[in-house]
Amino acid sequence: MSILAVGSRRVAESRLRNMWRWRNAIITFGIGNPVLYLIAVGLGVGSLVEESMPGGIDGIPYLAFIAPALIITAAMQAGQDEVVFPTLAGFIWTKTFYAMRATSLTGAQIAEGVLFAAFGRIVLTSVVYGLVLLLFGAVSISGALGVTALAILTGTCWAATMQAIAASVHDDGGFLSLAGRVIIMPMFLFSGTFYPLSALPLAVQWIGWISPLWHATELGRWLSYGAPTPLWQVCVSVAYLMVLGVGGVVLARRRFERRLTS
């Protein structure tokens, strides 16, 4: 990554060192999470769905329908964990960002380094998930490549957004429970994850439209089994994810810099 300043790489290196301490949890969760979800929801719930809807949603097995949503959710969750916790710790709990800032590093480099390390975790999570999807026969090889790449992109863009938000949090306890209950949970439930968004009343469909998970999931279904998706929607969804990603990085860099120099 030559586009990454040398200082950012040093921060990423130290973040990876911290993650290494959690390697067992990361790997267990990385494999356990997809396996459990695919068995419980994909096969368990899937058998009920297919019983009542012969031919499944979109004319494909239920497992194939939810596979893109699951891998993308996992990537987003991994990315979020890997930026939100270090950011809250760095600014509030252990204040290590202030120690980093006393070296030749800049605030922007610290922000980039944290995100870059999170990117590593997102790649790992997505690749493992992609392989498990293949093993379960939920996707084809080309589909697996497509959704894995998409999951990495979405997870990274989401991580950047969450990093920008976490960078302005001063009351950590409140933020974590709020983020979990008010952002993540509704997004997971109302983004067409387990059923098409069109199955919901129009009154709550907007949650899906503003949700990066829904945009990414639609893209994923298009990539993985060719779900009919108009080109304009593909463009809007990609643009939306990119705006979150680029906007998140710009904002996070600025907020880190400002918070560490005032």
Binding site: G7, K95, T96, T103, S104, T106
Partner: protein, 325 residues
């Protein structure tokens, strides 16, 4: 060094720290702009150990952060190691060691890793760092704790680790913000001993403190700050001589009698300071003055004659005691 300095009072060709009219103000919601540091001048030469003394809120930490190139000044001039922190922060910080007031150690890492990772932030190679980390563990007397988690260390050990960590880039200027606040006496003495050794190696030390004994132990020269301004400057001995005199008689008469007694003390000592719980008389001859007090029939409940200290200087200059008791 690429900056020419106007000839300073101290005559250093290249001062390590050079400030003129250095000012920092913060905008607050309630009371408008607050001046945290109000137009101060500073000059610190290579190898000096320099103290900034002041009560909480006097502007010490704000000054330290501007010197540490992590806080932008509002106005005035400042050069650190010959560079302007406004424009060359990372370059300056590469040559600084910083011991913040609050420990900022990485609790996920071991003692050794904390120093190592910090060295990596400065871009030091693994090969360079291995022996250096080892030396620093020796210096901080933490060799037997090298693989322990930070959480298991005592307060004094954490401070020593923070100091060891701050030395990993072999800084030419070490900034210590209240290095021994919250430590027990034994831990403080151990820390002072380490800082003494550092002084001998020629590192420039700048420290803030509100402990008089610390300032007297460690600082060749110091400034006293109050409400964002420098109110006095000099060596500890010079400051004491100029502002407090030689000796102090401390007498207590009990809270009620204190005010009644004051008029009867007229003519004894050079100056009188009435505190809520005691009266201080600044004098050149403490024993003689105490005899005089007793001779006047003003029997104090307790009496003490002692050498004047920086605490007295501070009281004289600011009208306040340093540590709120």
């Amino acid at each position: 060094m690429d900056v020419a300095f106007p000839p300073g009072r101290h005559g250093w060709l290249c001062p390590v720290i050079w400030a003129r009219d250095l000012t920092k103000s913060y905008a607050t919601k309630t009371s408008g702009d607050v001046l945290a540091v109000d137009s101060i001048d500073l000059e610190v030469g290579p190898g000096e150990s320099f103290g900034i003394l002041g009560a909480n809120g006097a502007g010490k930490s704000t000054t330290m952060r501007m010197i540490g190139a992590t806080l932008q000044r509002t106005s005035g001039e400042l050069t650190i190691l010959g560079h302007d922190p406004q424009h060359e922060g990372p370059l300056i910080r590469a040559h600084l060691g910083v011991v913040p007031q609050q420990d900022t150690l990485d609790t996920d890492l071991t003692v050794r890793e904390n120093i190592y990772v910090y060295g990596r932030y400065f871009g030091l190679s693994r090969a360079e760092l291995q022996p250096r980390v080892d030396d620093l563990l020796d210096f901080a007397q933490l060799q037997d704790k090298r693989d322990a988690k930070v959480d298991s260390l005592s307060g004094g050990m954490k401070r020593r680790l923070t100091i060891a960590r701050s030395l990993v880039n072999e800084p030419s200027l070490l900034l210590l913000d209240e290095p021994t606040t919250g430590l027990d006496p034994q831990a403080r003495h151990l820390l002072w001993d380490r800082l003494f050794r550092l002084r001998e190696t020629g590192v420039t030390l700048v420290l803030t403190t509100h402990y008089m004994d610390e300032a007297e132990q460690l600082c060749e020269r110091l400034v006293v700050m109050d409400a964002g301004r420098i109110v006095a400057e000099g060596s500890p001995a010079h400051l004491i001589r100029t502002h407090a005199g030689r000796e102090v008689v401390e007498v207590r008469f009990g809270a009620q009698r204190s005010n009644e007694v004051v008029p009867h003390l007229a003519g004894i000592g050079q100056r009188t300071e009435v505190l809520p719980d005691r009266i201080l008389l600044y004098t050149e001859a403490g024993e003689a003055d105490l005899h005089e007090i007793v001779a006047r029939g003003l029997t104090p409940t307790t009496a003490l004659v002692r050498r004047a200290s920086l605490e007295d200087v501070f009281l004289r200059l600011t009208g306040r005691t340093l540590v709120d008791e």
